[in-house]
């Protein structure tokens, strides 16, 4: 079954869409990056460390990481209402948790590092593209980090596991239907974020994580290449 499984866009089951990564796209930010899976495009801008405002949210013991995820109104076919929504607030929080294990901002007492993620164009896996862009932007901003993170969505279409979902696959209708599992991995292969939207067995979940590790290598290579390119230019 694995062999002759057909994906709507003709990709292999473990094939990612074309990755585009670029660093330094927002000149006014302290660090910025763009990351795209095919036509899912995310840009991230990092500001700080700077003093946390309002003052009552300051943490005098360690620095704070604050992420905001936003989908632009023209990023999808049907215009979405701009501004914060239940979904975007959830993804902002999840992005923060995905990045927290790698950023070393304990010394930035009472300060905050702001990460703003904007989705320019969406075709599923937007949170993964956002996290990948944020990791590069944080490195570009000179924030100390244990490693970068790589994020990818693994899907289960009916009973078949696939890498890097697109919108069409998210709405899979055959058999058991679609399951979406976004996974974020740190440099040493540990999971910093995993979500599950659907149903999956334990054995297959382990296989999904394995697929994410495989894809993570390709994403990491793209992130590394983009960062080193700006480094050489300067």
């Amino acid at each position: 079954m694995t062999k002759d499984f057909k994906r709507p866009d003709g990709r292999k089951i473990n094939e990612l869409r074309k990755i585009t990564a670029k660093v330094g796209v927002v000149p006014n930010a302290d660090g910025s990056a763009m990351f795209a899976f095919g036509d899912t495009v995310a840009i991230a801008a990092v500001y700080g460390p700077k003093k946390m405002h309002p003052q009552h949210s300051q943490n005098p013991e360690k620095g704070t990481l604050r992420c905001s995820y936003n989908m632009l109104s023209f990023s999808v076919t049907e215009r979405i209402r701009p501004g914060p929504s239940r979904r975007s607030m959830e993804i902002s929080k999840v992005t923060e948790w995905a990045l927290e294990p790698v950023v070393m901002i304990d010394d930035f007492k009472a300060n905050v590092v702001d990460v703003h993620i904007n989705i320019l164009q969406a075709n599923a896996s937007t949170r993964c593209a956002g996290i990948n862009a944020a990791a590069m932007a944080l490195a570009h901003a000179g924030i100390p980090m244990k490693s970068l993170v790589t994020s990818v969505s693994i899907g289960k279409l009916d009973k078949q596991l696939v890498t890097d979902l697109i919108k069409e696959e998210e709405d899979w209708e055959e058999g058991e239907g679609p399951t979406d599992i976004p996974i974020t991995l740190t440099g040493d292969g540990k999971i910093s974020h995993i979500q599950l939207d659907g149903k999956i067995g334990r054995k297959q979940l382990e296989e999904a994580v394995e697929l994410a590790r495989e894809a993570g290598k390709q994403i990491h290579a793209a992130q590394e290449k983009a960062l080193k390119e700006v480094g050489e230019k300067k």
Partner: protein, 222 residues
């Protein structure tokens, strides 16, 4: 010194116990990892990473340029474009100051050069007790990426003295990226500014001081 190499966070720079982890690096299981995006450098078995971008991290002993943000009863609050605010106490001014009228010495909006003498939980403390520090009068201020300041200064100040000689301007470089230029004519100041911005843009060239000598010859020939 070995060749400099661009590294990203989480990259292994050196293996084995022969090396010591320096700034911007961390030792995990006998391997030295980079924790910053920058240039990795090794001198006498000490490995460190020089960041390429990012905001200025204040350090004790740095000479910085800032703007007076507020005047309080015992000193001045100074904006250095850092996360923590800086304070210059009247105790740190090596001359008589009328305590009733601090604003007459330096008022809000004035620029100054000062040295960081301590960094603590409350913020950064500045001092004027050194030659060349004080309020800045006249001239112009430009701002560059703080990570490029070492290139503008050059080895033992070679680059700054070159620009000073070529343009006839007085130049003070703050570690936080602010640069004060004062010349006799505004044209001289603009010429110095052009030279500094050229250095900031071409900061990765080897032998930059020689390159700048040629650049000055070419610019003056025009």
């Amino acid at each position: 010194m070995t060749d400099r190499k661009i590294v990203i966070p989480g990259e292994v720079i050196a293996k084995g116990d022969d090396y010591l982890p320096g700034e911007g690096t961390e030792k995990r299981n006998g391997e030295i990892f980079s924790i910053k995006f920058g240039l990795a450098e090794e001198t006498n078995k000490l490995v460190k990473v020089i960041p390429l971008s990012g905001v200025y991290q204040p350090r004790r002993g740095n000479v910085v340029i800032g703007k007076v943000e507020n005047v309080t009863f015992n000193g001045w609050v100074v904006d250095l474009k850092t996360a923590d605010s800086a304070f210059l106490s009247i105790m740190e001014i090596p001359r008589y100051v009328d305590k009733e009228d601090l604003g007459s010495v330096m008022d809000i909006g004035d620029m100054l050069v000062a040295k960081i003498y301590s960094i603590n939980k409350r913020g950064i403390d500045l001092t004027f007790k050194l030659k060349g520090l004080g309020k800045l009068e006249g001239g112009m201020i430009i701002h560059i990426n703080p990570n490029k300041v070492p290139r503008v200064i050059g080895k033992e100040g070679s680059m700054v003295s070159l620009i000073k000689d070529e343009t006839g301007c007085q130049i003070t470089v703050g570690q936080n990226g602010f640069i004060w230029i004062k010349g006799n004519k505004i044209e001289d100041e603009l010429f110095a500014k052009k030279a500094i911005l050229y250095i900031a843009e071409h900061s990765l060239i080897h032998g930059l001081t020689d390159e700048m000598k040629n650049w000055f010859d070419k610019e003056k020939g025009k």
